[in-house]
Structures are given as structure tokens and as C-alpha cells.
Amino acid sequence: MRLALKYTLLLGLGNVTLLVLVMLMTHFSLHQEVSGLRERFDAAARADHQRLAETHARSAVALIRHRLFDPLFDKRVGELERIIRHDLAAWPGVRRVLIADAEGLLLTDGSLSNQDFLTPLALPAKPSTDQDFQLTPADYGFRLSFPVAVENTLAGHVVIELEDGELHQRLQRQRTLVEESFNELHATMHRTGLLSTLLIALIGALFSYRLSKTLSHPLRALMRSAERMTNGDLTHRIAGGPNNDLGDLTAAFNRMAESLQRNTLLLQNEIAERRRTEEQLRYSRDCAESANQAKSAFLAHMSHELRTPLTAILGFGQLMDGDPHLHPSLRKPLATIQRSGEHLLAVINDVLDAAKTEAGKTELHPEDFDLHQLLEGLSEMLGFRAGEKGLRFHLTWKDDLPRQVRADVRKLRQILLNLLGNAVKYTEQGGIYLRAETETPPQAHALRLYFEVEDTGIGITAEQLPHLFEPFYQTPECSLRRDGTGLGLTISRQYVQLMGGEIQVRSRPRQGSRFSFSIDAAAATRPPATPEIEPGVQVTGLAEGQPRYRLLITDDDALSRQLLVEMLRPLGFEVRECANGREAVQAARDWRPHLIWMDLQMPELDGRQATAAIRALPNPTPRPVIAALSACVFANKRDDLLHAGFDEWLHKPYCRNEIFAVLTRRLGVRYRYAAHRPAQNTTSPYPLSSAGLSRLPPAWRKAFADAIPDLDRERLLQMLDELKDAPIASALRQRVEIYAYDELLRLFEAAE
């Protein structure tokens, strides 16, 4: 006969549970019964005691009432006290006796002190004058109160407090008896419980024996098989099995083992295949990383190797350009050298910027700047180029565009230059539009700046648009021009992304293009900085009334040193040279320079080590400003250099005015500027803006504008002398020198 296991288990469990429940209920019932018995005994004892107390009270009242009447009526309190002390006090259980007059005021409590004399005594609401008395339970036992009266004459009241010590003793005796009975019952129950437990244990043992045969043995077999499978033996199977639920379980287990063995084989094959793939991928990645590192190393090396000679080429070119004794026939070839050098530098910068961004080494360097001035400068610069092609250039911004903001101005300038440069380059008629606004209202210091560059140029086809930002991609129209590196838009998009935005393009062929982007910025944290030296302005010497500044130039490249010496010494600076870091430390200690130009890559002691040694010198007076000069754009991060003790950092090649600006910023150096510039680099005229002209005195501005159509160069130069050394005067003088009268007329008309 097949008996289901669960029914066997349920039956056994039910029997045991029922037995335990019966025992518990019996115990509980007995306990309740004993408790009830105790309470009934107590109640009966109390009732008996009450009856007894009432009987005693009735006798006592009858005995004492008449004896108290006369002294109480006459208020012979002394006699009452004697009765209390000598008679009533001798009654069993009397705790205290209180006697009051007919009004209920206490006459005496029998004590010598009688402190409560004439205080109201708590009495029944309506004192009776008959033979009645009141016996009420109290904390201490009973309170017997009765009036003392004869017929209808009330003499007073008596209260006798009776302690119920006898009741307590009786109750205690009863309780002891009940406790003893209960204890006997308890002992009997314990014996019964012990026998029941033994019986349950016997039943349990028999039940366990039955279970071990039908349940435990097959389960242990299952457990051993599961352990073997856990240890990796997937081929093991359980033989046979009982003819019940466990037999079904055994069969199911064997089927699961077969499935597991099959799937494990498949999984192992797949894992092996994936491992081979991963090995190949890892090898490919290592090769790619090695190639990338080699590329970065090559670029870093080339950066240094290319920039160092370029520094000399451009630097000496600028020096020669500023030489008034240069033969006029040499100025055109010199300008060609300058333009070629600057173009080469632009190409190198683009390639390096793209490489840096690709390598993830590009950093944002936010700084406070005048956004309006930046836009005006770009407008003037690109407006000039546009004007040369007969194009209109429009700069507009909304009124809420903040002037002072904080962002990476160099990258923003480069983005806008790239987009505007392309717009000018690929537009032949119509105009260029530069628009700026804030995308969202300013919240705290957060800003979102929106820029838009639109042109009416050749446009871009829909097929070209997806490839527009790829490196070195050029449309067929661009390829024909063969200028540019093809990296400008790539770098611009990377910079915009770095600044938290994305460039959007909308374009239609032969109708024009519109590039727009937004960047994250912040409100400026500092007031506007003092203007540095404007590009293109010719510095001719030091202004009067300044100390003689000592400048130390440290560079292992003799040409680089010579360039700086030629640049600075003629202006009136005291200059010394060092070929390595060790000499620089010695000179810093002995000569105490105001500023040290420090190349970073030098033999013996490099720029970082030398700077650390100089900063460790005791009490340097004055504390020297140390400006890093580096031709490598990869190896050095700006923050690292500042932490290493440097105050400034310039890339090679640098221009003269960058050098002069550092001196102004750090030492407060003031310069004299050229009143007449003998020659001008026509590729980079100083940008003028109508906004800048509008700040000039209106009368002077009107007189100058009126003089332009007369084409009287001498008169215009004389009027400009009235503005003395103001930078805008130099810029205007430059335009007069090259006879750019049409540009001047357009700017002054716009300023009006």
C-alpha cells in the first residue's frame, strides 16, 4: 500500500500537538481553579470578619454610648480622655479613638498633645441619633462611627478606628492552606507531565524510526549525490528509489543531472571560445595603446623640436620688424617670413590641439574676462577681413548678456575664430553674423552662453554634413583652396563638448550656413583686470620713474636666450643669462633678480628642480617671480606648474607683447609706446571697433571724422598726437599709415 509521506508527517505532528495542547489546557485550567478558590476563600473570610466586627461593634456601642453621654454632653473632655486612655484603648484592635461634639468638631483624640482639637471630623452625612452605628472598611481595617445621644439629644460623635490584624492573620492562614494545596496539585501535574513526556518521547522514537525508513535514507542518498555533483562529478546518477514521492524526486534529480551535464559542456566550450576572443582583443588593444603612446611621444617631441626654432624665427622677425633702420627692401621678405612662420605655428597648434584632445589631455582653464571686449575684438578682426572682401559683418548681443564672465577664454576665442574664419573664407557676397545671448536666466553664478555664427556663403550639402567635424575632412570646395589643416572644426567641436555643449549646424548649398553652440560659464568672481598690452602695439621702452628691474633668463638653447636678451635689454631692463638650472639657482641667490624666465627642459638641473631650489632659498628679497617657458604642450599641466612654484607659464613660441604683459602683471612694469610705427604687419592689423571709438571725446571724434575725406595724412597724424600714447591712438595711427581711409570712415560713421 502506498502512503503519501506528507500524510504520514501530518498525522504524527498532529498527535504530538494535540497531546501538548491537552497538557497545557489542563495546567491552565487547574491554575485558574486554584486562583478562583483563593479569591473565594478570601471573600468568605472577609465577609465573616465583617459580620464579626459588626457584632462586636454593636456590643461595644451599646456598652459605651451611655457612659460617654454625660461627660460628652457637659464637655468634660478630661474625663472623656480618661475613658479613652483607660477603657477604650484596652479594646482589642483599637487604633485610635476620636470624640467630637454635636457639631462634629473634634474634642479629643485621647492624646496628651491633642493637636487636632476643634478640627472638623469626617462623619456620616446625616448623623443619626438612634442606636445605629456605621462600620466602614478602611485601609487599616474598619472605621466604627456612632452618635452619642439619648432620645433626641445628641451629645456628640465617636469614631473608633479598628485595625484588622486578626483578619489578616486569618487570610494569611487560608492562603497558606490554599498555597499548600496548589503546590500538591502542581507536584501531581509535574509527575503527570513527566510521564506524558516519556510517552511522547516513546511515540517520537517510533515515529522517527518509521521516518528514517521512508524519508531519511532516500534523502541522505540525494544529499550525497548533490555533494558529488557540487564537487564536479556530473556523471553520477542515483540508482533505484522508493515507491513513493521520494522515488519521483530521485527520478527528477537524475534528469536534472543529465541536463546539467549537457549544458555544462556547452558552457565550457563557449567560455573557451570567449577567452580566445578576449586574448585577441587584449593583444589588439595593447598594440593600439603602444601605437598611441608612440604617437603622443612623437608629438611631444616634435612639439618641442618645432616650437623652439619657431620661437627664434618669429621672435627675431618681430625684432627686425621693429628696427627702424631695416632697409625697406627687406620688409616684404620679412613679412613673408613672419606670415609663413605664423602659418606654420597655426598648423602645429591645430595638430597638437587635436592630438591633445584626442589623448584626453586638454584641460579647461577658466578665468575672468570681458566677454563684450572679446566679441568686439573678434568683430574688428574678422570685420576687417570681411571688409576686404566687400562683406558686411554684424555683431549683435542681447542686453542681458553679461560683460564679466568666467570661462576658458582662450578656447572660446579659438572656437569663434575658427567658425568666423571659415565664414569669411567661404562667403563671397552678403554678410557674416555673430550673435550672442544667455540661454537661461543667470542663477547664482551659473551661466549658459549661446553663440551663433551665420554666413551667406557657399553652404554645405546634406551629404557633407555628417563628415564635417571629422579630422582632415574638407569639402571639395575647400580642397580647391588648399589652405587650413582641416582640423579647425574638429578642435572647435571638441572644445565645445569640453565646455559642456554641442555644436549644431544648419546649412543649405549656395544659401549659407549657421553654426550655433552653448557653453557653461559662470559670473566673474573678481573685478575686471587691468588691461594688458594690446596686440600690435609697439613697445619702445620703459616709462619714467621705475626701478631698474633685474631679469634672469635661463635656457639651455642659446638662440632662445639671445631672443629674450635682444627683446628686453634695449628697453632698459638689466638682464643676465644662465644655461642651466644650477647656474640659475646660484644667480638667484647672488644677484637677486626680480623675475626669472625659466625653460623647463634643461640639462643638469631642469626648470622644475631649479624652481624648487630657488623657492627653498632663505628669505629671498625680493621674492623672485618665476615664469615657465615651455615648447612642449603635452608634458606640462598648468596647475602642476603653479603648484611646483611657478607664477606664470608661457608657450613657445611667444610674442613680444606676451612677454611684456607678464612683466606688467607681475612687476607692474609700465612702458612707452611707439608714436609712429614705421612698418606694419598687414596680416594682423590692430582691431578697431566702433564701440571703442564711441568712448573718444565727441568733439575730437567729429573733427577727426570730418578730416578723413580730405585725405590729409599729416593733419590726421597731428590730431592723433593729441591722444598721446593711448592704445587706440596707435591703432588709428596704424590705419592712417596704411591709408585705410575707407575703413576709418566706416568705423567713425558706425560710432556716431
Binding site: 464637655k75 468634660r76 473632655v77 478630661g78 479629643t108 492624646s111 491633642n114 493637636q115 482639637f117
Partner: protein, 296 residues
């Protein structure tokens, strides 16, 4: 002839005994009379003074003196006892002593209840308008009992000496200016009566005033007092043998000098027996003069 001889021998022997009263083999009684202070408790007097008598017996036995206690139920009984010669000495208050026959004279001063002399205090309710003894005219005055010295006799005599008339409050037509007096039965009831308005004034001695319960005391105000007087007095029969008298007096006055004697006296609330000083005699005389005002 033989009976004549026997009679003569007996007479001779009697004469011999009579000539040697202090011999041990011829006990001489000494009967001390007191009044039982609690009529409802007849044995109370014996509880008080039996230890003293026993101690005296032990001490006077060598002298052949056998002391004994004679208790009178009240002053009248005491007077009768003394008159009949049933007492050799009486220990009582001055007022009771003054009513004895002249055959008793002051002998010693028992210092009882810690006080050698007392005075009576007149008191009334705190807000009463009674300020002087004369204000008692027409008012009710609570005495203790007719046998009390300090709470009846002396103050009554003192008031009468000041010209006031006193009548029982139970009189049917008391004169309006008379002091109407009532007997409260005990000193505490006197105080309660005045506090409860049952009487308008009361009087008892300064010891009772000091022992008043605090609950009652704050409802009373003292307003007059009598001159001091001897509180307790031991008188002796004037014809008592001087030697016997001297022996007993000496024994009594030495009792307080040892613990046994002191304990025997203290049961009767006596701390010692003092000899009479001239001042005591003067005070007794003054009190007796005062008490004469009680005579009808």
C-alpha cells in the same frame, strides 16, 4: 496572792516597755495618712506610696519603727482620721492640711512633681475682654474640684481677699457682679471648657498650665496669678515622740541620697523631703492667712 504578783509583774513590765519605745523588740507604729486621689480607683494610693512605706519599713526596722499607710477616701475622712488619732503624719496639700485639727504641725516639705512651690494661673480665651481679676465679676470661672488647693482654694481665697464675691454657677439668682464658679472635675477639662466657651475663665497651678496640650493651649491666654505657696506638706502629730520624730525625719530626708530610696519615692511622684526653712514657715503662714478668707 499569786495573781497580785502576776499583776504587779505585768504592770512592771508594761512600765518597762513604756519607758523604752525605740527598742526593736517593741515595734512602734508610724501611720502616714494620705487621701486617695482617684475615688473610682481605690488602690491608686497604695500603688503610689506603698514602695515608700516598704523602703521606710526596711530602713526603720532597726529602730523598731513599723511604718504603715492610711488612706482616706476624701478630706472629710482624713479629718476624721486625724481627729480620732488614727494617723501620725499627714501628707497633703496646704489647703487640706489647713482643715486638720490643730494637733498637727508642719514637719517636712515633700518635693512633689518636681515643684517645691506653685502658684495659680488665671486664664481665659485669647479674644476675651477679661484683662484683670476684677473683670471676672459677672463671669463664669471654672475651678477643678472643691478639694483642690491651687485650682480652687487658693484662687478662691485670693479673689475673696480682693473683695470679690463668688457664688456657684448653679445658684438660682446669682448677683450680677458675683463671680460664678463651676467645677470641671479635672484640670484638662478646665482648659477645654474655657477653650470651648463652657466657662469664661479658669484657674489652676503653673504646673498644669505647662502641661496643657498644645491644641488647647493656643486657644487660651493667662491674665493673672497668685503668690507662690508650698505645694505639698508633711505634717506630724504634735505629741509624737521627739526621738521617734527625729529618727523618721532623718530617714525621710536621706532617702533621695541612694537609688533605692529615690526609686521608692519617685513612684509617689516625690523627689526628696526637705526640712522646713524659715521662709517655708512664712509662706505657710501667709497661705493659711489667705485661706482664712474661705471661712464663712
Amino acid at each position: 496572792m499569786q495573781w497580785v504578783f502576776n499583776l504587779a509583774v505585768s504592770i512592771g513590765l508594761f512600765a518597762l516597755v513604756g519607758s523604752a519605745p525605740l527598742r526593736a523588740d517593741d515595734p512602734t507604729p508610724f501611720r502616714l495618712a494620705v487621701i486617695n486621689e482617684r475615688a473610682q480607683h481605690p488602690s491608686y494610693t497604695f500603688e503610689l506610696y506603698q514602695p515608700l512605706i516598704q523602703e521606710l519599713k526596711a530602713r526603720l526596722a532597726p529602730a523598731g519603727i513599723v511604718p504603715s499607710l492610711v488612706a482616706a477616701a476624701d478630706p472629710t475622712a482624713l479629718t476624721k482620721l486625724t481627729r480620732e488619732g488614727a494617723a501620725d503624719a499627714v501628707m497633703e496639700s496646704l489647703f487640706i492640711q489647713s482643715r486638720l485639727t490643730p494637733s498637727f504641725e508642719p514637719w517636712l516639705v515633700p518635693v512633689r512633681k518636681g515643684e517645691r512651690a506653685v502658684h495659680s494661673v488665671f486664664f481665659t480665651a485669647p479674644h476675651s475682654d477679661i484683662r484683670t481679676l476684677e473683670d471676672l465679676q459677672g463671669r463664669t470661672l471654672a475651678f477643678e474640684s472643691p478639694r483642690s488647693t491651687s485650682a480652687y482654694a487658693i484662687p478662691k481665697a485670693y479673689l475673696k481677699a480682693r473683695g470679690l464675691r463668688l457664688v456657684s454657677a448653679d445658684s438660682e439668682h446669682p448677683p450680677p457682679d458675683a463671680v460664678r464658679y463651676r467645677f470641671a472635675g479635672d484640670e484638662r477639662t478646665q482648659g477645654y471648657w474655657v477653650a470651648l466657651g463652657q466657662a469664661e475663665a479658669g484657674v489652676f497651678n503653673n504646673d498644669d498650665w505647662a502641661k496643657l496640650s498644645s491644641g488647647v493651649r493656643l486657644r487660651l491666654r493667662a491674665f493673672a496669678r497668685t503668690p507662690p505657696m508650698i505645694r505639698w506638706l508633711l505634717t506630724v502629730r504634735t505629741d509624737l515622740d521627739p526621738a521617734l520624730r527625729e529618727t523618721i525625719a532623718q530617714t525621710l530626708m536621706e532617702l533621695h541620697q541612694d537609688p533605692e530610696g529615690l526609686a521608692a519615692m519617685q513612684k509617689g511622684l516625690i523627689s526628696r523631703f526637705d526640712p522646713l526653712t524659715p521662709a517655708d514657715r512664712a509662706s505657710i503662714a501667709q497661705s493659711r492667712t489667705l485661706l482664712r478668707h474661705l471661712d464663712p
